[in-house]
Amino acid sequence: MKEKVLIIGGGIAGMEAARQLQALGCSPLLVEKEHGLGGHVARWHKLFPDMLSAESLVTELEAGLSGVTVYRHTEVKSINRLKDSYSVKLSNGENLVVRAVLLATGFRLFEAAKKEEYGYGVYDHVVTNADLEAWMNGFPDERMPEAPRAVGFVHCVGSRDIKAGNSQCSKVCCMTAVKQAIEMRERYPQAEVYCFYMDLRLFGKKYEDFYIGAQRDFGIHFIRGRVSEVGETIDGRVQVKAEDTLLGKPVKVILDLLVLMSGMVCNPSASALAPQLRLEIDSDGFLRSRDNVAGILESGRPGIFYAGACTGTKTVPETLAEARAAALRIYQYLQA
C-alpha cells in the first residue's frame, strides 16, 4: 500500500513536493486553504532573473499534480501524533492518517500598514510590491496613477526592522524592487524611478546584472537611505523624505506612486500548527529547523518536515529545490 504524506500548503513548495512524492511512489495529500494553488507566486507577474511568467510556472507545477489528492478550501484543524503516524483532522470534516507531514506553509507578506509613516491604506498612491504585481497581472487598482512622472520604491518595509518585529532580511525584495523599477520604467519611460534602500542585497545569479542594467540602461536612481516619512500633497501626490546617507543630506521628492517592498514574515497558519506538533519557532518568527546548514528540512520531530519559506525567506528556485529535497528526504524516511 502507498504511504500517505500530508502536505500543508499548496504553494509552489507544496505542489513541487507533491509531484516528486507521487513520482517516488508515495501518496501525497495536498491541503490548500484557498481555492487556487500556487500561493504568492500565482499572484505574481514575472519572476526574476529570467522574467519567467509566474503563471506559466504555476501552470506547469499544477500539471504535475495529476493523481495527487488536492483538498482546496481546506485547512488542517488538528494533528495528533500516533505511534508512527499522524492523525489529521481537516476543516472539511475528513480524518486522515498519514505517515509523514510536510509543512510548506510559506510566508505572509508583512502588513505594510503597520509602518504607519508610509501611509499605506491612508494615502491615495501608496501600494505594495504585491499590489504592483497584481496590477501588472491585469487587476485594476485605482491607486495606480495614469501616467506617472515619478515612482518611488521603499526597500525593507518591515524587514531588518526590530521595531516592526522583524530583524531578518527578506532577501528577495531588493531584487524584486530592481525588477519592478525596471518594469515601471519600461512601461513609463518618461517617469523618474527612485529606489530608497538601506543596503542593496543582490546576492543571486544575474541579480547584479539587473542592477547594472537598472543603473545604466534605465537610469533608475538608487538612494541609500531609508524613507523616514511620507506625506500627501494638495494634488494627492506623495511627498517622500529620506536622508541620502552617501551625500550626507536630507532629500525629498514628490512622487505619483510609492511602492512599499513588504518583507516576508512567517505564515500565521504555521505558527498556529506549531504548538500542536511541538515544533519550535525560531527567533525570526519562522519555524526552527534542526540546523540551518544541513538540516533545514528537518523539524526535529519524527515524520515532520519543512520545505520553502516556512523556515525563512526563500527565493522561488530555492523553494523548488527544497521541495524536491524534502520529497526525497520523506521517501527515505518512509523506507527506513
Binding site: 500598514a113 504607519e116 509613516e117 501611509g119 499605506y120 491604506g121 491612508v122 494615502y123 491615495d124 516619512e229 506625506g231 500627501e232 500633497t233 494638495i234 494627492g236 511627498q239
Partner: protein, 356 residues
C-alpha cells in the same frame, strides 16, 4: 487621502480617559503666552460640563524645559515630578491631567522609565522623602488636557454657539492641526490616534464642524526645539523649521491652526511675524497671517465666549479673519481693553503682517 485608512489607525490607538476627578498640572509658560487658555479649560470643565478638576497653587514646573535643554539631569526632573504626584496623592486624586505637552511627555517618559527600571523609582522615592518628606502614588491615569477636551468634544458641540463653518458659504473651515512633538511621538500608544495620524485635535475640529488639512509637513516640529530657540545663535533654525511648515501648508489655504502644546501656538503665531518681516511673505488672505489657536481657545469660541475674554488680543497674528468667517460676535474696539475695561494701549503694528 483614504479616510477609512486613517479611521482604522485611530481605532488601533484608543486611550482610556476617565470622565471625572482630575488633578490639573499647569504649564510654566502658557499662562504668560495664552493666559486665558488654562483658565477656560477649568471654566469649561468645571462650570460648563460640571467636572471635578483640582487646581492647586502648590505645584511647580515639571522640569521639562530644563531637562530638554540639558540643564538638569533626569533624576532631578524625576524628583520634581514625584513631588507633583505627591501633591496629587495628598489632594486625594488618582488621575493627573497636564496642561503642557512637554510635561505630559515628561510624566509619560518617567512613568515608563520607572516601569522598566523599578529600582530607579525606589531611588526617586528616597530622594523625594529626603528632600521634602513626601510620598506619592503613581497616577492611575495620565492624560493631556487636550485628551480631556477630545473626550468632551461632543458635549461641547452640543452646547456650541458657533461652528467651525464659514457662515457665508456654509463650507467647513479648513483647520490645520499641530500636535506637540512630546504628545505621542515618543510613546505612540499614549496619544489618542497614535503618532503618525493623531486624532486628538482633528477629532475636536471635526466634531465642531471643521475640516482637517493634511499637508506634507504635518508631522514636522513647530520649530521651538528648546535649544533651537533658547540659544539665540540657533534661532535661525527655529524660524526655518516654522517656515518649512508654512510653505508646506500654504497651497491648502487653511483658515486657522489648532495646537495642543504651549510652545507650538507661540512659535507658529510669532514666527509668522518674523517670516513676514524677513521675507515679506504672509500666509493668510490679504496680508493677514493664519490665525493660531490653542484648543481651549477654539473650544471657547465655539461655546460663544467673548474672544477678548479668551485673551485672543495677545496673539501676534490677527484672529479676526477667522472670527469673521465663523460669524463670532465681537466688539473690535474692546480688543485692547483690560478686564476692568481699562485701556491697555495699542501695540505697535508690524510693517508687513497685517494686524488690527
Amino acid at each position: 487621502m483614504i479616510y477609512k485608512g486613517k479611521q482604522k489607525i485611530w481605532s488601533d490607538y484608543q486611550k482610556e480617559i476617565p470622565d471625572d476627578h482630575w488633578f490639573y498640572a499647569r504649564s510654566c509658560i502658557r499662562q504668560n503666552f495664552f493666559p486665558a487658555s488654562e483658565k477656560y479649560f477649568l471654566e469649561i470643565g468645571r462650570n460648563v460640563l460640571g467636572r471635578d478638576i483640582c487646581d492647586t497653587e502648590h505645584h511647580t514646573t515639571c522640569g521639562g524645559i530644563a531637562y530638554h535643554s540639558d540643564v538638569i539631569p533626569q533624576e532631578t526632573a524625576m524628583t520634581i515630578v514625584a513631588r507633583q504626584f505627591a501633591l496629587m496623592t495628598e489632594m486625594g486624586y488618582r488621575n493627573l491631567v497636564a496642561s503642557c505637552i512637554t510635561s505630559f511627555g515628561n510624566y509619560t517618559e518617567i512613568l515608563e522609565t520607572w516601569r522598566e527600571f523599578p529600582e530607579l523609582e525606589a531611588r526617586i522615592r528616597e530622594h523625594l522623602w529626603k528632600s521634602c518628606r513626601r510620598e506619592f502614588e503613581k497616577p492611575e491615569y495620565l492624560a493631556h488636557a487636550s485628551d480631556l477636551m477630545y473626550k468632551w468634544r461632543n458635549d461641547i458641540a452640543e452646547r456650541a454657539q458657533y461652528r467651525l463653518v464659514n457662515k457665508d458659504t456654509g463650507e467647513p473651515l479648513d483647520i490645520v492641526e499641530h500636535i506637540g512633538c512630546h504628545y505621542s511621538k515618543m510613546f505612540p500608544h499614549k496619544g489618542v490616534g497614535g503618532a503618525e495620524y493623531p486624532c486628538v485635535l482633528s477629532g475636536m475640529v471635526e466634531s465642531w464642524g471643521g475640516r482637517i488639512v493634511d499637508y506634507p509637513e504635518r508631522r514636522h516640529c513647530c520649530g521651538f526645539g528648546f535649544r533651537q530657540y533658547l540659544v539665540k545663535a540657533n534661532r535661525g533654525y527655529s524660524v526655518s523649521n516654522t517656515y518649512k511648515k508654512f510653505e508646506s501648508m500654504e497651497p491648502f489655504h487653511p483658515d486657522g491652526i489648532i495646537t495642543n502644546c504651549p510652545g507650538c501656538p507661540y512659535f507658529l503665531d510669532r514666527w509668522q511675524y518674523v517670516i513676514a518681516e524677513q521675507t515679506g511673505k504672509t500666509y493668510g488672505r490679504d496680508g493677514f497671517g493664519i490665525p493660531v489657536f490653542t484648543y481651549e481657545e477654539l473650544a471657547g469660541l465655539v461655546l460663544g465666549i467673548n474672544p477678548w475674554d479668551l485673551g485672543l488680543q495677545l496673539h501676534q497674528t490677527a484672529v479676526e479673519p477667522l472670527l469673521d468667517k465663523m460669524g463670532v460676535a465681537y466688539v473690535p474696539a474692546d480688543k485692547y481693553l483690560g478686564l476692568n475695561r481699562e485701556d491697555l494701549l495699542r501695540p505697535e503694528l508690524p510693517s508687513v503682517l497685517k494686524c488690527f
